[in-house]
């Protein structure tokens, strides 16, 4: 089973986790039947295109707007984009493309 990867919640963020039935054509994440917004997109992509027909899309837009405002208010960079555990998991040391290296400090975000 592929779990639905749509972010839910307002204060506490988490994944929906129900069984996914489709993939969002815009961002590719798995979406369950309850979260299929207009055009088969995930709520966040629908909200980004100003299609608020689905309640989850409206909720995503509200959450985003609120967090954006709060981040400016607090000057707290981390609060803005709100990386969740799902985002972080891909950047654990074991998830790198080159498994067999000791940390030699080559951890730049980009290489010039």
């Amino acid at each position: 089973m592929t779990p639905c990867a749509v972010t839910t919640g307002f204060f506490t963020l988490g994944k929906c986790g129900q069984m996914a039935v489709a993939g969002c054509p815009a961002c590719g994440r798995a979406v369950c039947a309850d979260h299929l917004a207009d055009g088969g997109m995930c709520p966040e992509c629908a909200a980004a295109r100003r299609q608020f027909g689905h309640p989850a899309a409206a909720a995503a837009a509200r959450r985003r707007a609120y967090r954006h405002r709060q981040a400016q208010y607090y000057g707290d960079a981390g609060y803005y984009s709100g990386f969740d555990d799902y985002d972080r998991a891909a950047f654990e040391p074991g998830a790198a493309a080159h498994q067999d290296y000791l940390d030699d400090g080559d951890d730049a975000l980009v290489d010039s």
């Binding site: 990867a5 972010t7 961002c27 590719g28 994440r29 966040e44 000057g75 960079a77 981390g78 803005y80 984009s81 709100g82 990386f83 799902y86 985002d87 972080r88 998991a89 891909a90 950047f91 654990e92 040391p93 998830a95 790198a96 493309a97 080159h98 067999d100 290296y101 000791l102 030699d104 400090g105 080559d106 951890d107 730049a108 975000l109 980009v110 290489d111 010039s112």
Partner: protein, 378 residues
């Protein structure tokens, strides 16, 4: 109290090209503003705090295993370092969104140097990163680029990626990388073989070193020829490529993490220098300004490189271009150039004159100074 700050989520100094870049860019900034604050990553033997004249170097030394957490922690740490200079800070020069966010909160002018974009480049090293995560990172890039007073890019290719993320086109300035001219009488490295072809740089998949190894397997009849790989990463990281080299039976001499000052000698005495970049989105959409090519040109060594827009921009007709990801074509180009040493030397000389005429680090610094002039006048 400092008037300028330079932030980079990168270890400095190190053997990588980015460290060379940081050194020259930061030097221009700090010469102009009479010193400043340099916030970089530490680790290894590097001291956490260092003062050199007017320049204060502070290094982030926390051990945070998760890259994303480390970047966020760096961001908060940098914000704390900048806070005492809030009132006097006039300009912040940053290289990534995690440096840009704390810099934006100080209210100083922001110069964003976009050598690469994490949302394009991170998936190569972190293949499990989800599209939604990259979208969040892209969102940050957009915010930082939109609010930057100037965006400095090393190549024309990346201009499109940067303006696509909301940077105003009139604020995007092209400052190509450069290389310092190499004196003609630089001594031969003691361990250098008689005749060798050289590759300098890191070993990420998009560098195309595997293509070079496969090409070299086709040159097995040239028993007098050795491939020298000056890797900027540790032997442990080079293991997969070393194994590939052994399987193909290629004669390779590995030189790991040699100091940047010694690289010029290796380049100057090589027959050829190769930059086999692959045709992936990292090189095609994001672009780069490969320092290995600049330095080879400055050393007067002929360059064989992949035919990509980013390379054509650097090399022009002062080198030999071959289709990317094609070992046979690369092998043929190397063979032909080795057959005609005079043409090869002439190509190298032309490249050297081209660099000396307009693309040394001195020129790059002058271009950067123009950008600062404009930001100040703005």
């Amino acid at each position: 109290m400092h008037r300028a700050a330079y932030l980079a989520f990168d270890r400095f100094p190190s053997a990588k090209g980015s460290a060379v870049h940081i050194r020259h860019m930061a030097a221009e900034l700090f010469d102009r503003y009479g010193g400043g604050l340099l916030c970089v990553l530490g680790g290894g033997e590097l001291p956490a705090y260092q003062r050199e004249g007017g320049v204060e170097i502070v290094r982030f030394t926390d051990v945070v295993p998760n890259l994303l957490d480390r970047a966020e922690a760096f961001s908060r740490w940098a914000a704390d370092r900048l806070a005492p200079h809030r009132d006097t800070l006039e300009i912040c020069h940053v290289r990534d969104p995690w440096g840009a966010l704390p810099a934006l909160s100080t209210g100083a002018r922001l110069v964003y140097e976009a050598n690469g974009l994490p949302s394009i480049e991170l998936p190569y090293a972190w293949p499990l990163a989800a599209p939604s995560t990259l979208a969040k990172i892209r969102e940050r890039e957009e915010r930082c680029l939109q609010e930057a007073d100037a965006v400095v890019v090393p190549s024309r290719v990346i201009v499109k990626a940067v303006t696509g993320r909301g940077a105003a086109p009139d604020r995007v300035h092209l400052v190509p990388n450069g290389a310092d001219p190499v004196p003609a009488d630089v001594p031969r490295p003691p361990t250098a073989p008689d005749r060798y072809v050289i590759y300098v740089g890191a070993l990420q998949p998009w560098q195309g070193v595997d293509v070079l190894l496969r090409a070299f397997a086709r040159l097995a009849d040239r028993t007098d020829l050795t491939l020298v790989v000056c890797s900027s990463v540790s032997p442990a990281r080079a293991r997969p490529l070393r194994r590939l080299g052994e399987r193909l039976g290629v004669r390779i001499q590995w030189e790991h993490q040699i100091p940047h000052a010694d690289v010029a000698a290796w380049l100057a005495h090589a027959d050829l220098s190769v930059a086999p970049l692959t045709a992936g989105p990292r090189n095609l959409d994001q672009g780069c300004s490969p320092i290995k090519v600049w330095e080879s040109m400055a050393a007067g060594t002929a360059v064989v490189a992949s035919d990509l827009p980013v390379i054509r921009e650097v090399l022009g007709d002062h080198g030999r271009l071959v289709p990317p990801d094609r070992p046979a074509e690369l092998a043929r180009a190397i063979r032909v150039l080795l057959e005609y040493p005079d043409a090869c030397r002439e190509l190298g000389e032309r490249a050297r004159r081209h660099v000396e005429a307009g693309f040394t680090w001195k020129h790059a610094r002058a271009r950067l100074a123009d950008v600062y002039d404009r930001v100040e006048a703005h």
